[in-house]
């Protein structure tokens, strides 16, 4: 009897548990086992074991291999998830991150024994400062949103240090990532949302109308979440700085601009970048990422502790905790180091040329694909060149009654990961497509042909699109049921 491994439900690891099976072999003990009752108060001793599975090594390996078969990654196929920069994750970076001299280090090792690790961090800080046009960088934040929090806290610390405590508002455009307003709230600010123009540019009049002496800062993504370069960036910087506020750069879209333009030169005071987007480190199914933050010199004294410094006269790298005006610590230890090793490897391999070329080709690919897709779907800002991503919608086939979600699901049937959908919120039925520079022309052509085929289906057999996907072992899911009847963990059935 044959079974299709890719088309069946995988039992939970807990259901595979069989008494007596084991997959672990710990070092043999040569000292007599201590009676725990003699050294731990009885009420603090565990009465029942955590109900973990009892399985053999082969069971574990097959279980997780089967699970991996139910996943789609960049290595599986085209993954044009807008705003996430799903570029190829070089295999070399996986190897360097696993070098024992990087991976087998304890965070509290004496500084003499971690000079290579600190040097790598220091050089990564310098490289990111150069790429973004900032003066000083911290690698501590563990993800983009964590970087945003550090950055907004730095803005708060700056105003507080000047006794300017009436600045209680952070302005964000309505096109912003959800993390921007959520971050501003977590940093204790009130969020003021301003509308964007129909082209996704910041509406300067709307901005002028809300700035004032209560403005702490403005958070902006540039290129914007519509994939367009904010043409009025200089005026925006003048308006914000003129009101005494600071300008925050959400670096989610940095992949469009390396070596081409720099946030520091645009007037931004604080930036974060996502190493897991622009700098090719893998997204890991939802992390770990890394969200370094760069600042202009006048804000350096507020960076989180510790920073990595180079002491030239001793030719030695150190961790500096002596930053009296620091916003404090963002997490334990120093950052997602293994992610930083991967990003450094990438920067070192590509160099200035390679990074610039990456951005150029990211933008070339996006515009080429926009052109091809634009023959079948409505694209936003058709007369402008996009940066690394663009937005399209099924507006032009409105009469078919097919929605963005349907098209996205149908793309799965054709072997593609769908783009980001229903974001940015200001474009109805948005599909945000970011091809990245690591895709070839054939892939882009094929994807455009698939879009054409789906659009054709919408007109001739809309039902097949509305009920997609059909080729996956799961059909569309009941998300409402998941939320109404939460089942968030396994509980072993009680045996009579």
């Amino acid at each position: 009897m044959s079974k299709d491994l890719f088309n069946q439900t995988e039992a939970l690891i807990f259901d595979k548990s069989r008494p007596g099976h084991k997959a672990y072999f710990l070092p043999e003990m040569s000292i007599e086992k201590l009676d725990k009752n003699k050294v731990i108060p009885s009420h603090l001793i565990r009465k029942t074991e955590a109900d973990l599975p009892e399985v053999s090594e082969i069971d574990v390996v097959r279980h997780f291999t089967h699970l991996s078969n139910k996943n789609f990654g960049v290595d599986t196929g085209f993954y044009p998830l807008g705003s996430c920069t799903m570029k190829y994750n070089p295999k070399l970076n996986e190897n360097t991150a696993r070098l024992p001299g990087f991976s087998w280090l304890h965070p509290y090792q004496p500084v003499e024994t971690i000079q290579g690790a600190l040097q790598l961090m220091y050089l990564t800080q310098l490289s990111l400062a150069e790429i973004t046009g900032m003066d000083k960088v911290t690698l501590q934040p563990a993800a983009g949103a964590h970087g945003e929090l550090a950055g907004i806290k730095i803005i708060k610390a700056y105003h507080d240090s000047r006794g300017d405590t009436k600045r209680t508002k952070i302005i964000v455009p309505d096109s912003a990532h959800g993390t921007n307003p959520a971050t501003a709230t977590m940093a204790g600010f009130q969020v003021i949302e301003i509308k964007s123009s129909s082209e996704g540019d910041i509406d300067l009049d709307a901005l002028k109308a809300v700035v004032g002496d209560d403005t702490a800062g403005f958070m902006l993504t540039n290129p914007s979440t519509l994939g367009l370069f904010e043409r009025n960036i200089k005026q925006i910087a003048e308006i914000i700085h003129g009101a005494g506020g600071l300008l925050y750069y959400d670096g989610a879209n940095t992949n469009a601009i390396m070596g081409i333009t720099r946030p520091g030169d645009m007037g931004f005071d604080v930036v974060h970048v996502n190493l897991h987007k622009t700098f090719s480190t893998p997204h890991g199914g939802g992390g770990p990422g890394s969200g370094p933050v760069g600042v202009k010199e006048f804000l350096a004294k507020f960076l989180p502790i510790p920073t990595v410094e180079y002491v030239a006269y001793k030719d030695k790298y150190i961790l500096n905790y002596d930053i009296p005006e620091s916003i404090g610590r963002m997490k334990s230890f120093y950052g997602n180091f293994a992610v930083i090793v991967r990003a450094y490897t990438y920067i070192r391999a590509l160099g200035a040329d390679g990074l610039k070329m990456s951005s150029e080709y990211a933008v070339l690919n996006a515009n080429y694909l926009k052109k091809l897709v634009g023959k079948h779907l409505a694209v936003e800002a058709p007369e402008r060149f996009c940066m690394h991503e663009f937005i399209c919608t099924p507006k032009n086939i409105h009469e078919t009654g097919v929605h963005t979600l349907d098209i996205a699901k149908r793309m799965i049937d054709y072997g593609y990961h769908p783009p980001t959908i229903y974001f940015p919120l200001i474009v109805e039925e948005a599909m945000m497509i970011e091809p990245t520079e690591t895709e070839g022309i054939e892939t882009l052509k094929e994807f455009a042909e698939v879009v054409a085929a789906i659009v054709n289906e919408c007109r001739t057999d809309a039902e097949i699109v509305k009920t997609a996907p059909h080729t996956t072992y799961l059909r569309r899911l009941d998300e409402v049921k998941a939320a109404r009847e939460p089942n968030l963990r396994y509980r072993r059935p009680v045996v009579e």
Binding site: L12, I13, L26, K33, A50, I114, A143, F385, L474
Partner: protein
């Protein structure tokens, strides 16, 4: 080098389709004076071979723990991680995917997170867990955000909480308008009275580490009772996660939110991680949990399926009203924790914990035989213990390196007054020989130093 699979000829074809002559034209929206002139000041790119050599050279400047017997813990605990973990993590269907927004093609990640949530609940004795936060320190900070509200604005941290965790909590509290207070230790543990002395009607939660920063096992049941009597929550931060193989689950002792750090079960410590923050709570507080949560549902045909759920808490829906700003978490390391703990299983974790307890006590006893060494606090402990040394811990540490021994953690880095305190961590991977060798080396070094 670069990773661009486009030839010159193909580039020309693409430019033609777009209707332009050069890539530069695509950047016409960027004001001319904002265009970066010249070349970024970065080293010239390298080939793959040269890059690897350069990185190998840099890594060689570090002393890796594999060459040493390690006795450092203090938040970064080195336990046995099965070889299969890294192999399975390295399946690129896992590591090159992102957040499972499209559940039909992300069931691998989603099912793994569901299993992970189950394991975290089992370890901690709680009802519900999320898909992870950044690390143990931010887990406590997020727990504070869960516990506090407009009326309950204060949180009391035990002085036995890892110092870097307390600092992180302070960073998060500052700006949200929350006040952080401290309960002092008495002989290494936090007496209930120390919390009560600080508590007011605005106290949202007591926070205690288990075992604490000095290795001492706190009586969290008493502290839970006291917190609840005040209508405050108890937040427990589990230090060495393997202790859950032997210590009573915090949930069974009255904890309302339990945090931890999964670094020991994620793989090598990698200097600073990535580690992974665990956070679990009771059904009552479920809507306050930050970040991703995976639940079970069905597809159209009634087949079991996993999906991100209860997203109305999250930043991409609620924006400024979200329970947290967290978006990316540490998903790959949640997978690692799932794999490691599935491999260890029910009895492996228990055996690991019992062996760790045995080794740590053997090691402590051996070191106490040395003249001039005393326990800092005489309290029950699990894998870590703090010793008063007759010489600075920093000096001992430096000389032990010559004996190929790493550790102990010098407590002077957290508080200058503790510069003679060494915090030793011992796990199941240390052999009797290792520990005997440590004791001999410590004795030799102390005697030498005294002579000097």
């Amino acid at each position: 080098m670069n990773y661009i699979p486009v030839t010159e000829l193909e580039k020309e074809e693409m430019l033609k389709e777009i209707g332009i002559n050069s890539i530069d034209e695509l950047f016409r929206d960027i004001p001319e004076d904002l265009k970066f002139k010249g070349e970024l000041k970065l080293p010239k790119g390298l080939s793959e071979y040269e890059t690897r050599k350069a990185l190998i050279k840099m890594a060689a400047k570090n002393t890796d723990m594999n060459q040493l017997a390690n006795y450092m813990g203090a938040g970064a605990y080195n336990h046995y991680v099965p070889t299969l973990v890294d192999h399975l993590l390295s399946r690129s269907e896992f590591y090159t995917a992102y957040t499972p927004y499209q559940p039909e093609i992300s069931q691998g990640t989603l099912q793994s997170i569901y299993e992970f949530q189950t394991i975290v609940c089992e370890l901690f004795g709680m009802d519900v867990s999320n898909a992870s936060v950044y690390d143990g320190a931010t887990a406590v900070a997020e727990a504070m955000v869960m516990a506090c509200d407009k009326k309950k604005t204060e949180i009391i941290l035990s002085k036995g909480l890892h110092k870097e965790y307390s600092e992180t909590v302070e960073t998060y509290a500052n700006g949200m308008g929350f006040t952080v207070k401290y309960a002092e230790l008495d002989e290494g543990i936090t007496p209930v009275e120390a919390f009560e002395a600080q508590a007011t009607d605005a106290t949202a939660a007591y926070v205690v580490m288990y075992p604490n920063f000095y290795g001492c096992i706190e009586d969290i049941q008493k502290i839970a009772d006291a917190a609840h009597a005040r209508k405050a929550l108890l937040i427990v931060s589990v230090s060495d996660l393997s202790s859950m193989g032997i210590l009573e689950a915090p949930g069974n002792l009255g904890a309302d939110i339990v945090c931890g750090d999964g670094m020991p079960f994620a793989g090598p410590l990698s200097f600073s991680g990535p580690s992974i923050g665990l956070i679990a709570t009771t059904d009552k507080l479920i809507r306050k949990l930050p970040g991703r949560i995976v639940g079970i549902t069905e597809d159209l045909e009634g087949k079991r399926a996993f999906v991100l759920t209860m997203q109305a808490r999250e930043q991409h829906i609620r924006r400024e009203k979200a329970s947290s700003n967290i978006c990316s978490n540490q998903a790959l390391y949640a997978l690692a924790n799932n794999i490691t703990l599935s491999t260890l299983g029910k009895y492996g974790l228990k055996e690991m914990a019992e062996n760790t307890l045995t080794n740590a006590h053997y090691c402590r006893d051996k070191l106490l035989e040395i003249d001039g060494i005393e326990m800092l606090y005489d309290q029950p402990f699990y894998s870590e213990f703090a010793l008063k040394l007759p010489i600075p811990a920093r000096v001992l540490q430096k000389h032990l390196l010559k004996h190929e021994i790493l550790g102990p953690v010098d407590m002077g880095i957290f508080d200058e007054e503790l510069s003679n305190i060494g915090l030793f961590f011992v796990s199941e991977i240390r052999s009797k020989d290792d520990m005997d060798r440590l004791a001999v080396a410590v004795e030799v070094i102390i005697n030498e130093q005294r002579f000097i």
